[in-house]
Symmetry: C2
Subunit: 211 residues, 2 copies
């Protein structure tokens, strides 16, 4: 008798995998990658720990999967802003603002994605995604040179600088210490301060003209 | 009978510890943190593997120690440039140029320090040192606002942007792929190109006036 994996079984597996990843994402968004643990994750997903290992080799694989999904979402949001109508300078302004606002809105997750010390496997994903972000900025900078709203010599290098500046600027303000020391009500004012300083830095650096 | 650790023994231990770290640093400078292994390190230091474990809990501790020493050296070199005579804008120019030149001169090591995927323990050191770099830049930016050679609103945030931009700009050019694809003779020309683009970005971003 041949054992066949039925379509229904595959479907159940996919659903379970999604549920596990949803629970893991929630865990990371609440307390960072360091808080991921197979036993508590199994509990929150309502499965046996053994089941988790049927889907994932271990928590590093889960961390990498979460990192990839969450970062893909940020990349697509940024791409949307950078490719919207308007001059390149306007789009750069909107893109960075949106990126910062999204990070601000999910601080713990953003901090985990950008800066939390993570296993080498996840750190390698960061390196990869920084290149993807830089590629997005490169396209915009080229357009900016053409439409005259930006003035950039070395495009790939300038794109990397934008990626580094934006990420690093947010590390401090998003850090658990900063969040803890901030009074609830100050958050919106803080965001405006951080965002406008970041924008000033980046827009000046590429000689942006916003008419 | 009381067993006493003699001064001579302690001294021998210190010397051996230094030799192990020297060998480890050389290994990282040649092939990155990923190439560190206790057995080959013991071989190159001329000690038994067991001896290594008497000095270090494992390769992550060695990696962290190397990271700390090598980065301390870069920090002190940058501090020296940023605190030399001249306007803040001039010192920023010299500081970034020196930092980039030193990285260029020891590319594999610089790439390992800045960007190689590393264990979480070493990654945590990176976060810590980025704050130290930012603090150095913050002092300079304050001086620049006073001497009129820079014009910066939010100093801590701008300092973080400088740290991020400088580090990220170097990741691509220093990456093993880039080094491999570059012909030997092009290196000096490449450096000038990378460095001048990085300087343009950073100096514009802080509205530097170099008279």
């Amino acid at each position: 008798m041949v054992y066949r994996v039925t379509e229904a079984r595959l479907q159940r597996d996919r659903v379970l995998r999604e549920r596990i990843l949803d629970c893991a994402l929630q865990q990371v968004a609440e307390a960072g990658f360091a808080s991921l643990a197979m036993t508590s994750l199994a509990r929150s997903a309502g499965v046996a720990t053994g089941s988790l290992y049927r889907h994932f080799s271990g928590k590093d694989e889960i961390a990498r999967e979460i990192f990839t999904r969450a970062t893909d979402l940020e990349v697509s949001q940024l791409r949307q802003q950078l490719q919207a109508p308007g001059t390149a300078a306007e789009r750069l302004h909107r893109g960075i603002r949106t990126f910062a606002a999204r990070a601000w809105h999910s601080r713990q997750l953003a901090f985990a994605l950008i800066a939390e010390p993570v296993p080498g496997e996840v750190d390698a994903c960061r390196l990869h995604y920084r290149e993807i972000y830089a590629e997005l900025f490169s396209q915009l900078l080229e357009q900016g040179n053409r439409d005259g709203s930006l003035q950039v010599g070395n495009i790939p290098l300038t794109a990397a600088c934008l990626v580094g500046a934006t990420a690093e600027a947010l590390v401090g303000p998003l850090s658990p210490q900063a969040i803890k020391s901030r009074a609830e009500g100050d958050s919106a004012a803080d965001f405006e301060q951080v965002c406008s300083a970041l924008l000033e830095f980046c827009l000046r650096a590429v000689a942006a003209r916003l008419d």
